[in-house]
Amino acid sequence: MSSISIAWIALPFFVGFVIYLLPKLDRYLALSTAFASVAFALWLFVVQSPINLQLIDHFGVTLILDPLAGYFILTNALVTAAVIIYCWHSGRTSFFYAQTIILHGSVNAAFSCSDFVSLYVALEVISIASFLLIAYPRTDRSIWVGLRYLFTSNIAMLFYLVGAVLVYQAHHSFSYVGLRGAPPEAIALIFLGLLVKGGIFVSGLWLPMTHSESEAPVSALLSGFVVKAGVFPLVRFALLLEEIDPIVRIFGVGTALLGVSYAVFEKDTKRLLAYSTVAQLGFIIGAPTVAGFYALTHGLVKAALFLTAGILPSRSFKELREKAIATPVWIALVVASLSISGFPLLAGFGAKVSTLENLMPWQVIPMNVAALGTAITYAKFVFLPRGGEAKVGTGFWAAIALLIGGLFIANIAYPEAYTIANIVKLLLTIALGWIAHLLIFQQAFVKLPRLLEGFEHLIGVMSLTLVVLFWMMMA
Protein backbone atom coordinates (compact mmCIF):
# COMPACT_ATOMS: atom_id res chain seq x y z
CA MET A 1 0.00 0.00 0.00
CA SER A 2 2.66 2.46 1.00
CA SER A 3 4.76 1.79 -2.08
CA ILE A 4 1.75 2.46 -4.33
CA SER A 5 1.16 5.76 -2.53
CA ILE A 6 4.76 6.85 -2.90
CA ALA A 7 4.84 5.83 -6.55
CA TRP A 8 1.64 7.80 -7.11
CA ILE A 9 3.13 10.94 -5.51
CA ALA A 10 6.29 10.66 -7.60
CA LEU A 11 4.49 9.84 -10.86
CA PRO A 12 3.39 13.36 -11.96
CA PHE A 13 6.86 14.80 -11.42
CA PHE A 14 8.43 11.96 -13.34
CA VAL A 15 5.89 12.36 -16.15
CA GLY A 16 6.48 16.13 -16.13
CA PHE A 17 10.13 15.57 -16.96
CA VAL A 18 9.44 12.78 -19.43
CA ILE A 19 7.20 15.19 -21.36
CA TYR A 20 10.24 17.38 -21.96
CA LEU A 21 12.06 14.36 -23.39
CA LEU A 22 9.15 13.08 -25.48
CA PRO A 23 7.22 16.21 -26.42
CA LYS A 24 5.15 14.32 -29.02
CA LEU A 25 3.45 12.29 -26.31
CA ASP A 26 2.71 15.28 -24.05
CA ARG A 27 -1.10 15.18 -23.99
CA TYR A 28 -1.36 11.40 -23.75
CA LEU A 29 1.11 11.23 -20.86
CA ALA A 30 -0.52 14.12 -19.01
CA LEU A 31 -4.03 12.74 -19.43
CA SER A 32 -3.09 9.22 -18.31
CA THR A 33 -1.39 10.66 -15.22
CA ALA A 34 -4.55 12.56 -14.34
CA PHE A 35 -6.63 9.40 -14.71
CA ALA A 36 -4.11 7.49 -12.59
CA SER A 37 -4.85 10.03 -9.85
CA VAL A 38 -8.60 9.50 -10.33
CA ALA A 39 -8.06 5.77 -9.82
CA PHE A 40 -5.89 6.38 -6.76
CA ALA A 41 -8.46 8.69 -5.18
CA LEU A 42 -11.26 6.17 -5.76
CA TRP A 43 -9.06 3.48 -4.25
CA LEU A 44 -8.70 5.67 -1.12
CA PHE A 45 -12.50 5.65 -0.76
CA VAL A 46 -12.56 1.86 -1.08
CA VAL A 47 -9.80 1.32 1.48
CA GLN A 48 -11.47 3.77 3.92
CA SER A 49 -8.87 3.32 6.68
CA PRO A 50 -6.31 6.13 6.53
CA ILE A 51 -2.82 5.31 5.32
CA ASN A 52 -0.19 6.87 7.55
CA LEU A 53 3.31 6.97 6.19
CA GLN A 54 6.27 8.10 8.19
CA LEU A 55 9.45 8.36 6.21
CA ILE A 56 12.89 8.47 7.84
CA ASP A 57 12.42 9.52 11.48
CA HIS A 58 10.19 11.56 13.77
CA PHE A 59 11.36 14.73 12.02
CA GLY A 60 10.97 13.19 8.58
CA VAL A 61 8.25 13.40 5.98
CA THR A 62 4.81 12.24 7.12
CA LEU A 63 1.87 11.54 4.83
CA ILE A 64 -1.77 10.93 5.67
CA LEU A 65 -4.02 9.53 2.96
CA ASP A 66 -7.65 9.22 4.00
CA PRO A 67 -11.07 9.78 2.38
CA LEU A 68 -10.88 13.52 3.19
CA ALA A 69 -7.68 13.78 1.16
CA GLY A 70 -9.34 11.48 -1.38
CA TYR A 71 -12.03 14.09 -2.13
CA PHE A 72 -9.45 16.78 -2.72
CA ILE A 73 -7.26 14.48 -4.83
CA LEU A 74 -10.28 13.48 -6.91
CA THR A 75 -11.11 17.15 -7.52
CA ASN A 76 -7.55 17.81 -8.57
CA ALA A 77 -7.46 14.81 -10.90
CA LEU A 78 -10.82 15.45 -12.60
CA VAL A 79 -10.16 19.16 -13.16
CA THR A 80 -6.68 18.45 -14.53
CA ALA A 81 -8.10 15.84 -16.91
CA ALA A 82 -10.85 18.20 -18.06
CA VAL A 83 -8.40 21.03 -18.70
CA ILE A 84 -6.06 18.78 -20.68
CA ILE A 85 -8.99 17.57 -22.80
CA TYR A 86 -10.13 21.17 -23.29
CA CYS A 87 -6.68 22.16 -24.53
CA TRP A 88 -6.27 19.05 -26.72
CA HIS A 89 -6.56 20.83 -30.07
CA SER A 90 -5.55 24.28 -28.93
CA GLY A 91 -1.98 23.98 -30.20
CA ARG A 92 -0.35 24.61 -26.85
CA THR A 93 3.26 23.51 -26.53
CA SER A 94 4.40 20.54 -24.48
CA PHE A 95 5.74 23.07 -21.93
CA PHE A 96 2.15 23.86 -21.00
CA TYR A 97 1.27 20.20 -20.40
CA ALA A 98 4.48 19.56 -18.47
CA GLN A 99 3.74 22.49 -16.14
CA THR A 100 0.12 21.41 -15.76
CA ILE A 101 1.12 17.94 -14.69
CA ILE A 102 3.83 19.22 -12.33
CA LEU A 103 1.22 21.52 -10.82
CA HIS A 104 -1.08 18.53 -10.48
CA GLY A 105 1.67 16.57 -8.72
CA SER A 106 2.57 19.33 -6.29
CA VAL A 107 -1.08 19.89 -5.36
CA ASN A 108 -1.36 16.13 -4.76
CA ALA A 109 1.66 16.38 -2.49
CA ALA A 110 0.06 19.26 -0.57
CA PHE A 111 -3.11 17.18 -0.11
CA SER A 112 -1.29 14.13 1.20
CA CYS A 113 1.47 15.50 3.42
CA SER A 114 1.02 16.15 7.10
CA ASP A 115 4.15 17.99 8.11
CA PHE A 116 4.99 21.63 7.70
CA VAL A 117 8.13 21.25 5.62
CA SER A 118 6.63 18.99 2.96
CA LEU A 119 3.70 21.38 2.81
CA TYR A 120 6.06 24.32 2.38
CA VAL A 121 7.88 22.65 -0.48
CA ALA A 122 4.61 21.62 -2.14
CA LEU A 123 3.14 25.13 -1.85
CA GLU A 124 6.25 26.75 -3.29
CA VAL A 125 6.33 24.36 -6.24
CA ILE A 126 2.65 25.23 -6.75
CA SER A 127 3.56 28.94 -6.85
CA ILE A 128 6.25 28.39 -9.45
CA ALA A 129 4.17 26.12 -11.67
CA SER A 130 1.15 28.45 -11.46
CA PHE A 131 3.31 31.44 -12.31
CA LEU A 132 4.62 29.68 -15.40
CA LEU A 133 1.08 28.79 -16.45
CA ILE A 134 -0.28 32.30 -15.83
CA ALA A 135 2.62 33.83 -17.77
CA TYR A 136 2.27 31.28 -20.60
CA PRO A 137 0.93 33.85 -23.16
CA ARG A 138 4.12 35.91 -22.50
CA THR A 139 2.29 39.23 -22.67
CA ASP A 140 3.21 42.07 -20.31
CA ARG A 141 -0.15 41.79 -18.68
CA SER A 142 0.10 38.08 -17.99
CA ILE A 143 3.66 38.41 -16.69
CA TRP A 144 2.61 41.18 -14.32
CA VAL A 145 -0.38 39.21 -13.05
CA GLY A 146 1.88 36.21 -12.51
CA LEU A 147 4.58 38.28 -10.81
CA ARG A 148 2.25 39.83 -8.29
CA TYR A 149 0.90 36.37 -7.49
CA LEU A 150 4.38 34.94 -7.04
CA PHE A 151 5.53 37.90 -4.95
CA THR A 152 2.52 37.90 -2.64
CA SER A 153 2.60 34.17 -2.05
CA ASN A 154 6.35 34.11 -1.52
CA ILE A 155 6.20 36.81 1.17
CA ALA A 156 3.38 34.89 2.84
CA MET A 157 5.40 31.68 2.73
CA LEU A 158 8.34 33.41 4.42
CA PHE A 159 6.07 34.20 7.36
CA TYR A 160 4.90 30.61 7.27
CA LEU A 161 8.51 29.38 7.49
CA VAL A 162 9.10 31.41 10.65
CA GLY A 163 5.96 29.86 12.13
CA ALA A 164 7.10 26.36 11.15
CA VAL A 165 10.43 26.70 12.92
CA LEU A 166 8.69 27.97 16.05
CA VAL A 167 6.61 24.80 16.06
CA TYR A 168 9.80 22.80 15.63
CA GLN A 169 11.39 24.62 18.53
CA ALA A 170 8.50 23.64 20.78
CA HIS A 171 8.26 19.96 19.81
CA HIS A 172 11.35 18.97 17.80
CA SER A 173 9.05 17.82 15.05
CA PHE A 174 7.43 19.46 12.05
CA SER A 175 4.32 17.29 12.14
CA TYR A 176 0.87 18.96 12.10
CA VAL A 177 0.13 17.55 15.55
CA GLY A 178 2.85 19.81 16.88
CA LEU A 179 0.43 22.70 16.51
CA ARG A 180 -1.04 21.60 19.83
CA GLY A 181 0.90 23.41 22.50
CA ALA A 182 2.79 25.55 20.00
CA PRO A 183 3.14 29.25 20.92
CA PRO A 184 0.33 31.48 19.58
CA GLU A 185 2.68 33.45 17.35
CA ALA A 186 3.67 30.22 15.58
CA ILE A 187 0.04 29.39 14.80
CA ALA A 188 -0.64 32.97 13.71
CA LEU A 189 2.31 32.97 11.28
CA ILE A 190 1.40 29.58 9.81
CA PHE A 191 -2.21 30.66 9.43
CA LEU A 192 -1.16 33.84 7.66
CA GLY A 193 0.77 31.84 5.09
CA LEU A 194 -2.12 29.47 4.48
CA LEU A 195 -4.80 32.17 4.40
CA VAL A 196 -2.91 34.08 1.73
CA LYS A 197 -2.12 30.93 -0.25
CA GLY A 198 -5.72 29.75 0.05
CA GLY A 199 -7.22 33.09 -0.97
CA ILE A 200 -9.27 33.51 2.18
CA PHE A 201 -10.87 36.71 3.47
CA VAL A 202 -9.05 40.02 2.95
CA SER A 203 -5.66 38.34 2.61
CA GLY A 204 -7.07 36.52 -0.42
CA LEU A 205 -7.86 39.61 -2.47
CA TRP A 206 -4.99 38.83 -4.84
CA LEU A 207 -7.24 36.06 -6.13
CA PRO A 208 -9.88 37.94 -8.18
CA MET A 209 -7.39 39.60 -10.47
CA THR A 210 -5.11 36.59 -10.83
CA HIS A 211 -7.94 34.20 -11.61
CA SER A 212 -9.83 36.52 -13.90
CA GLU A 213 -6.90 37.76 -15.97
CA SER A 214 -5.48 34.30 -16.69
CA GLU A 215 -6.53 32.28 -19.73
CA ALA A 216 -9.69 30.19 -19.30
CA PRO A 217 -7.99 26.79 -18.77
CA VAL A 218 -5.49 28.26 -16.32
CA SER A 219 -8.29 30.01 -14.40
CA ALA A 220 -10.06 26.66 -14.22
CA LEU A 221 -6.95 25.04 -12.75
CA LEU A 222 -6.36 27.87 -10.28
CA SER A 223 -9.94 28.10 -9.04
CA GLY A 224 -10.62 24.38 -9.36
CA PHE A 225 -7.91 23.07 -7.08
CA VAL A 226 -4.82 25.26 -6.67
CA VAL A 227 -6.32 27.52 -3.99
CA LYS A 228 -7.57 24.42 -2.19
CA ALA A 229 -3.95 23.45 -1.52
CA GLY A 230 -3.88 26.37 0.94
CA VAL A 231 -7.32 25.61 2.32
CA PHE A 232 -6.84 21.89 2.86
CA PRO A 233 -4.24 22.21 5.68
CA LEU A 234 -6.60 24.62 7.48
CA VAL A 235 -9.30 21.95 7.34
CA ARG A 236 -6.83 19.37 8.65
CA PHE A 237 -5.82 21.65 11.54
CA ALA A 238 -9.45 22.30 12.42
CA LEU A 239 -10.19 18.58 12.53
CA LEU A 240 -7.01 17.85 14.46
CA LEU A 241 -7.29 20.54 17.15
CA GLU A 242 -10.63 21.57 18.55
CA GLU A 243 -9.29 24.94 19.77
CA ILE A 244 -8.41 25.93 16.19
CA ASP A 245 -11.78 24.86 14.79
CA PRO A 246 -13.70 28.05 15.78
CA ILE A 247 -11.00 30.28 14.25
CA VAL A 248 -11.18 28.44 10.95
CA ARG A 249 -14.97 28.72 11.02
CA ILE A 250 -14.82 32.48 11.69
CA PHE A 251 -12.64 32.91 8.63
CA GLY A 252 -15.04 30.72 6.68
CA VAL A 253 -17.99 32.98 7.48
CA GLY A 254 -15.94 36.13 6.84
CA THR A 255 -14.69 35.04 3.45
CA ALA A 256 -18.11 33.70 2.37
CA LEU A 257 -19.76 37.04 3.10
CA LEU A 258 -16.92 39.09 1.61
CA GLY A 259 -16.81 37.06 -1.60
CA VAL A 260 -20.58 37.08 -2.05
CA SER A 261 -20.94 40.81 -1.46
CA TYR A 262 -18.37 41.54 -4.16
CA ALA A 263 -19.76 38.91 -6.52
CA VAL A 264 -23.38 40.15 -6.56
CA PHE A 265 -22.31 43.58 -7.81
CA GLU A 266 -19.76 42.35 -10.33
CA LYS A 267 -20.35 43.19 -14.01
CA ASP A 268 -17.65 40.98 -15.47
CA THR A 269 -18.10 37.22 -15.88
CA LYS A 270 -14.61 36.09 -14.98
CA ARG A 271 -14.25 38.46 -12.04
CA LEU A 272 -17.63 37.30 -10.79
CA LEU A 273 -16.46 33.69 -10.93
CA ALA A 274 -13.23 34.60 -9.13
CA TYR A 275 -15.09 36.40 -6.33
CA SER A 276 -17.45 33.48 -6.10
CA THR A 277 -14.41 31.24 -5.56
CA VAL A 278 -13.51 33.40 -2.56
CA ALA A 279 -17.04 32.91 -1.25
CA GLN A 280 -17.14 29.17 -1.88
CA LEU A 281 -13.85 28.66 -0.07
CA GLY A 282 -15.71 30.06 2.93
CA PHE A 283 -18.28 27.27 2.61
CA ILE A 284 -15.46 24.73 2.47
CA ILE A 285 -13.79 25.84 5.69
CA GLY A 286 -17.06 26.94 7.30
CA ALA A 287 -17.81 23.30 8.09
CA PRO A 288 -14.47 21.44 8.21
CA THR A 289 -16.06 18.03 8.91
CA VAL A 290 -17.69 17.90 5.47
CA ALA A 291 -15.17 20.03 3.61
CA GLY A 292 -14.10 17.27 1.22
CA PHE A 293 -17.39 16.82 -0.58
CA TYR A 294 -17.97 20.56 -0.89
CA ALA A 295 -14.48 21.02 -2.32
CA LEU A 296 -15.14 18.32 -4.89
CA THR A 297 -18.42 19.82 -6.10
CA HIS A 298 -17.02 23.34 -6.12
CA GLY A 299 -13.92 22.32 -8.04
CA LEU A 300 -15.94 20.60 -10.78
CA VAL A 301 -18.47 23.42 -11.10
CA LYS A 302 -15.95 26.24 -11.06
CA ALA A 303 -13.74 24.58 -13.65
CA ALA A 304 -16.78 24.06 -15.90
CA LEU A 305 -17.87 27.67 -15.42
CA PHE A 306 -14.45 29.12 -16.17
CA LEU A 307 -14.08 26.97 -19.28
CA THR A 308 -17.54 28.06 -20.46
CA ALA A 309 -16.89 31.72 -19.65
CA GLY A 310 -13.80 31.43 -21.83
CA ILE A 311 -15.89 30.74 -24.96
CA LEU A 312 -18.59 33.35 -24.35
CA PRO A 313 -18.49 36.18 -26.89
CA SER A 314 -17.81 38.82 -24.23
CA ARG A 315 -16.76 39.15 -20.61
CA SER A 316 -19.16 41.94 -19.77
CA PHE A 317 -22.69 41.02 -18.67
CA LYS A 318 -24.02 44.16 -20.31
CA GLU A 319 -22.86 43.02 -23.75
CA LEU A 320 -23.91 39.44 -23.11
CA ARG A 321 -27.46 40.59 -22.40
CA GLU A 322 -27.65 42.14 -25.84
CA LYS A 323 -26.08 39.24 -27.69
CA ALA A 324 -27.75 35.82 -27.47
CA ILE A 325 -25.44 32.92 -26.64
CA ALA A 326 -25.75 29.47 -28.21
CA THR A 327 -28.37 27.31 -26.49
CA PRO A 328 -26.09 24.29 -25.73
CA VAL A 329 -23.54 26.62 -24.13
CA TRP A 330 -26.35 28.27 -22.19
CA ILE A 331 -27.52 24.86 -20.93
CA ALA A 332 -24.00 24.04 -19.70
CA LEU A 333 -23.88 27.40 -17.92
CA VAL A 334 -27.28 26.90 -16.32
CA VAL A 335 -26.58 23.35 -15.10
CA ALA A 336 -23.33 24.49 -13.51
CA SER A 337 -25.01 27.58 -12.00
CA LEU A 338 -27.82 25.46 -10.58
CA SER A 339 -25.37 23.04 -9.02
CA ILE A 340 -23.39 25.77 -7.28
CA SER A 341 -26.62 27.38 -6.05
CA GLY A 342 -27.62 24.01 -4.56
CA PHE A 343 -30.35 22.77 -6.92
CA PRO A 344 -31.54 19.17 -6.22
CA LEU A 345 -30.36 16.34 -8.53
CA LEU A 346 -26.92 17.90 -8.76
CA ALA A 347 -24.02 17.28 -6.40
CA GLY A 348 -24.07 20.90 -5.24
CA PHE A 349 -27.33 20.15 -3.43
CA GLY A 350 -25.84 17.42 -1.25
CA ALA A 351 -22.78 19.56 -0.58
CA LYS A 352 -24.85 22.60 0.46
CA VAL A 353 -27.12 20.50 2.67
CA SER A 354 -24.25 18.75 4.42
CA THR A 355 -22.40 22.03 4.97
CA LEU A 356 -25.46 23.86 6.28
CA GLU A 357 -26.19 20.94 8.64
CA ASN A 358 -22.71 20.92 10.12
CA LEU A 359 -22.56 24.57 11.12
CA MET A 360 -22.20 25.97 14.61
CA PRO A 361 -25.36 27.79 15.79
CA TRP A 362 -23.78 31.24 15.32
CA GLN A 363 -22.81 30.43 11.74
CA VAL A 364 -26.30 29.51 10.55
CA ILE A 365 -27.63 32.98 9.69
CA PRO A 366 -24.53 34.37 7.91
CA MET A 367 -23.98 31.17 5.94
CA ASN A 368 -27.59 31.07 4.77
CA VAL A 369 -27.24 34.69 3.70
CA ALA A 370 -24.14 33.67 1.78
CA ALA A 371 -26.09 30.81 0.15
CA LEU A 372 -28.76 33.31 -0.89
CA GLY A 373 -26.00 35.56 -2.25
CA THR A 374 -24.67 32.64 -4.30
CA ALA A 375 -28.11 32.15 -5.84
CA ILE A 376 -28.30 35.88 -6.69
CA THR A 377 -24.81 35.78 -8.19
CA TYR A 378 -25.52 32.87 -10.50
CA ALA A 379 -28.93 34.17 -11.53
CA LYS A 380 -26.92 36.48 -13.78
CA PHE A 381 -25.88 33.50 -15.87
CA VAL A 382 -29.29 31.85 -15.79
CA PHE A 383 -31.10 34.92 -17.17
CA LEU A 384 -28.80 35.46 -20.13
CA PRO A 385 -30.58 35.36 -23.50
CA ARG A 386 -30.09 32.15 -25.51
CA GLY A 387 -30.55 31.05 -29.10
CA GLY A 388 -27.44 32.49 -30.71
CA GLU A 389 -24.75 30.75 -32.73
CA ALA A 390 -21.36 29.61 -31.52
CA LYS A 391 -18.59 27.50 -32.95
CA VAL A 392 -17.27 25.33 -30.16
CA GLY A 393 -14.75 22.52 -30.48
CA THR A 394 -15.29 18.93 -29.39
CA GLY A 395 -12.58 19.35 -26.73
CA PHE A 396 -14.77 21.82 -24.92
CA TRP A 397 -17.77 19.50 -24.89
CA ALA A 398 -15.71 16.51 -23.76
CA ALA A 399 -14.29 18.54 -20.86
CA ILE A 400 -17.72 19.87 -19.87
CA ALA A 401 -19.22 16.37 -20.12
CA LEU A 402 -16.54 15.06 -17.76
CA LEU A 403 -17.10 17.86 -15.22
CA ILE A 404 -20.90 18.00 -15.32
CA GLY A 405 -21.13 14.21 -15.53
CA GLY A 406 -19.00 14.14 -12.39
CA LEU A 407 -21.56 16.39 -10.71
CA PHE A 408 -24.42 14.03 -11.54
CA ILE A 409 -22.48 10.97 -10.39
CA ALA A 410 -21.23 12.61 -7.17
CA ASN A 411 -24.86 13.38 -6.41
CA ILE A 412 -25.35 9.69 -5.55
CA ALA A 413 -22.78 9.93 -2.76
CA TYR A 414 -25.11 11.59 -0.28
CA PRO A 415 -28.71 10.37 -0.72
CA GLU A 416 -29.66 11.23 2.90
CA ALA A 417 -29.75 14.89 1.85
CA TYR A 418 -33.03 14.36 -0.01
CA THR A 419 -35.59 15.17 2.66
CA ILE A 420 -38.57 17.36 1.86
CA ALA A 421 -37.41 20.05 4.28
CA ASN A 422 -34.00 20.31 2.63
CA ILE A 423 -35.40 20.37 -0.91
CA VAL A 424 -37.95 23.06 -0.05
CA LYS A 425 -35.37 25.12 1.80
CA LEU A 426 -32.84 25.19 -1.02
CA LEU A 427 -35.46 25.67 -3.74
CA LEU A 428 -36.81 28.59 -1.72
CA THR A 429 -33.30 30.04 -1.40
CA ILE A 430 -32.80 29.81 -5.15
CA ALA A 431 -36.23 31.31 -5.89
CA LEU A 432 -35.61 34.19 -3.50
CA GLY A 433 -32.20 34.75 -5.05
CA TRP A 434 -33.64 34.88 -8.57
CA ILE A 435 -36.42 37.25 -7.53
CA ALA A 436 -33.89 39.49 -5.80
CA HIS A 437 -31.79 39.39 -8.96
CA LEU A 438 -34.69 40.39 -11.21
CA LEU A 439 -36.00 43.09 -8.90
CA ILE A 440 -32.86 44.66 -7.51
CA PHE A 441 -29.48 43.42 -8.60
CA GLN A 442 -30.05 43.34 -12.35
CA GLN A 443 -30.54 47.10 -12.35
CA ALA A 444 -28.20 47.88 -9.49
CA PHE A 445 -25.26 49.94 -10.54
CA VAL A 446 -22.81 49.80 -7.71
CA LYS A 447 -19.14 49.77 -8.42
CA LEU A 448 -17.28 48.51 -5.39
CA PRO A 449 -13.81 49.97 -5.03
CA ARG A 450 -10.93 47.76 -6.05
CA LEU A 451 -8.57 49.65 -3.79
CA LEU A 452 -7.67 46.66 -1.61
CA GLU A 453 -6.69 44.64 -4.64
CA GLY A 454 -3.76 46.94 -5.35
CA PHE A 455 -0.36 45.32 -5.18
CA GLU A 456 0.90 47.34 -2.21
CA HIS A 457 -2.31 46.83 -0.30
CA LEU A 458 -2.06 43.07 -0.65
CA ILE A 459 1.26 43.13 1.17
CA GLY A 460 0.06 45.71 3.71
CA VAL A 461 -3.06 43.72 4.53
CA MET A 462 -0.80 40.80 5.43
CA SER A 463 0.68 42.71 8.35
CA LEU A 464 -2.81 43.65 9.58
CA THR A 465 -4.02 40.06 9.23
CA LEU A 466 -1.00 38.89 11.20
CA VAL A 467 -1.85 41.22 14.09
CA VAL A 468 -5.51 40.16 14.05
CA LEU A 469 -4.54 36.47 13.92
CA PHE A 470 -2.18 36.94 16.82
CA TRP A 471 -4.92 38.43 18.98
CA MET A 472 -7.30 35.66 17.96
CA MET A 473 -4.79 33.03 19.01
CA MET A 474 -4.14 34.78 22.31
CA ALA A 475 -7.83 35.05 23.13
Binding site: V117, Y120, V145, L158, Q169
Partner: protein
Protein backbone atom coordinates in the same frame (compact mmCIF):
# COMPACT_ATOMS: atom_id res chain seq x y z
CA UNK B 1 19.63 39.52 21.60
CA UNK B 2 20.58 37.77 18.38
CA UNK B 3 16.95 36.81 17.96
CA UNK B 4 15.98 40.49 18.05
CA UNK B 5 18.47 41.29 15.30
CA UNK B 6 17.23 38.42 13.18
CA UNK B 7 13.62 39.43 13.55
CA UNK B 8 14.56 43.04 12.81
CA UNK B 9 16.07 41.82 9.54
CA UNK B 10 12.84 40.04 8.67
CA UNK B 11 10.81 43.17 9.44
CA UNK B 12 13.22 45.42 7.50
CA UNK B 13 12.78 43.16 4.50
CA UNK B 14 9.03 43.13 4.87
CA UNK B 15 8.73 46.90 5.13
CA UNK B 16 11.06 47.27 2.18
CA UNK B 17 8.79 45.02 0.14
CA UNK B 18 5.86 47.10 1.30
CA UNK B 19 7.20 50.62 0.93
CA UNK B 20 9.70 50.59 -1.94
CA UNK B 21 8.20 51.73 -5.23
CA UNK B 22 10.58 50.04 -7.60
CA UNK B 23 9.96 46.42 -8.51
CA UNK B 24 13.63 45.43 -8.33
CA UNK B 25 13.92 47.02 -4.90
CA UNK B 26 10.89 45.07 -3.80
CA UNK B 27 12.50 41.84 -4.92
CA UNK B 28 15.73 42.69 -3.13
CA UNK B 29 13.73 43.46 0.00
CA UNK B 30 12.11 40.08 -0.29
CA UNK B 31 15.57 38.56 -0.43
CA UNK B 32 16.56 40.42 2.73
CA UNK B 33 13.47 39.08 4.39
CA UNK B 34 14.35 35.54 3.41
CA UNK B 35 17.92 36.08 4.66
CA UNK B 36 16.38 36.94 8.02
CA UNK B 37 14.31 33.78 7.97
CA UNK B 38 17.38 31.68 7.10
CA UNK B 39 19.29 33.27 9.97
CA UNK B 40 16.39 32.48 12.30
CA UNK B 41 16.57 28.80 11.37
CA UNK B 42 20.33 28.73 11.88
CA UNK B 43 19.89 30.46 15.24
CA UNK B 44 17.33 27.90 16.39
CA UNK B 45 19.52 25.06 15.18
CA UNK B 46 22.37 26.35 17.33
CA UNK B 47 20.37 26.46 20.57
CA UNK B 48 22.02 23.29 21.91
CA UNK B 49 25.47 23.61 20.44
CA UNK B 50 27.55 24.99 17.64
CA UNK B 51 29.45 22.00 16.26
CA UNK B 52 28.70 20.78 12.78
CA UNK B 53 26.87 17.48 13.10
CA UNK B 54 29.32 15.21 11.24
CA UNK B 55 30.23 11.72 12.45
CA UNK B 56 33.71 11.74 13.95
CA UNK B 57 35.72 10.28 16.86
CA UNK B 58 34.99 13.19 19.15
CA UNK B 59 32.71 12.37 22.08
CA UNK B 60 30.14 14.41 23.97
CA UNK B 61 30.26 17.52 21.87
CA UNK B 62 27.30 19.89 21.80
CA UNK B 63 26.13 19.51 18.21
CA UNK B 64 23.98 21.94 16.31
CA UNK B 65 20.59 20.51 15.39
CA UNK B 66 20.85 19.32 11.77
CA UNK B 67 17.12 19.25 11.03
CA UNK B 68 16.40 23.00 10.74
CA UNK B 69 19.61 23.38 8.77
CA UNK B 70 18.55 20.74 6.29
CA UNK B 71 15.11 22.29 6.01
CA UNK B 72 16.38 25.78 5.42
CA UNK B 73 18.78 24.52 2.78
CA UNK B 74 15.73 23.41 0.81
CA UNK B 75 14.08 26.75 1.42
CA UNK B 76 17.19 28.63 0.25
CA UNK B 77 17.18 26.71 -3.02
CA UNK B 78 13.47 27.34 -3.55
CA UNK B 79 13.80 31.03 -2.65
CA UNK B 80 16.71 31.40 -5.01
CA UNK B 81 14.86 29.83 -7.92
CA UNK B 82 11.76 31.95 -7.31
CA UNK B 83 13.91 35.03 -7.28
CA UNK B 84 15.58 34.07 -10.54
CA UNK B 85 12.18 33.52 -12.08
CA UNK B 86 10.91 36.89 -10.88
CA UNK B 87 13.95 38.71 -12.21
CA UNK B 88 13.38 37.14 -15.63
CA UNK B 89 9.82 38.44 -15.49
CA UNK B 90 11.11 41.87 -14.49
CA UNK B 91 13.51 41.89 -17.43
CA UNK B 92 10.59 41.24 -19.76
CA UNK B 93 8.52 43.97 -18.13
CA UNK B 94 11.40 46.45 -18.19
CA UNK B 95 11.24 46.62 -21.97
CA UNK B 96 7.90 48.46 -21.90
CA UNK B 97 8.09 49.93 -18.39
CA UNK B 98 11.63 51.23 -18.06
CA UNK B 99 11.06 52.85 -14.65
CA UNK B 100 9.71 49.59 -13.18
CA UNK B 101 7.50 51.47 -10.75
CA UNK B 102 4.87 49.06 -9.56
CA UNK B 103 2.07 51.62 -9.50
CA UNK B 104 2.73 52.50 -13.15
CA UNK B 105 2.92 48.88 -14.25
CA UNK B 106 -0.27 48.12 -12.41
CA UNK B 107 -2.05 51.06 -13.97
CA UNK B 108 -1.04 50.18 -17.51
CA UNK B 109 -1.64 46.44 -17.21
CA UNK B 110 -4.60 45.69 -15.06
CA UNK B 111 -7.03 48.53 -14.52
Amino acid sequence: MLEAFVLATVLCGFFGALLKKNLVMKIISMDIMSTGVVAFYVLIASRNGLFTPIISDAQNIAYADPVPQAVILTAIVIGFSIQALMLVGVMKLARDNPTLETSEIEKSNTL
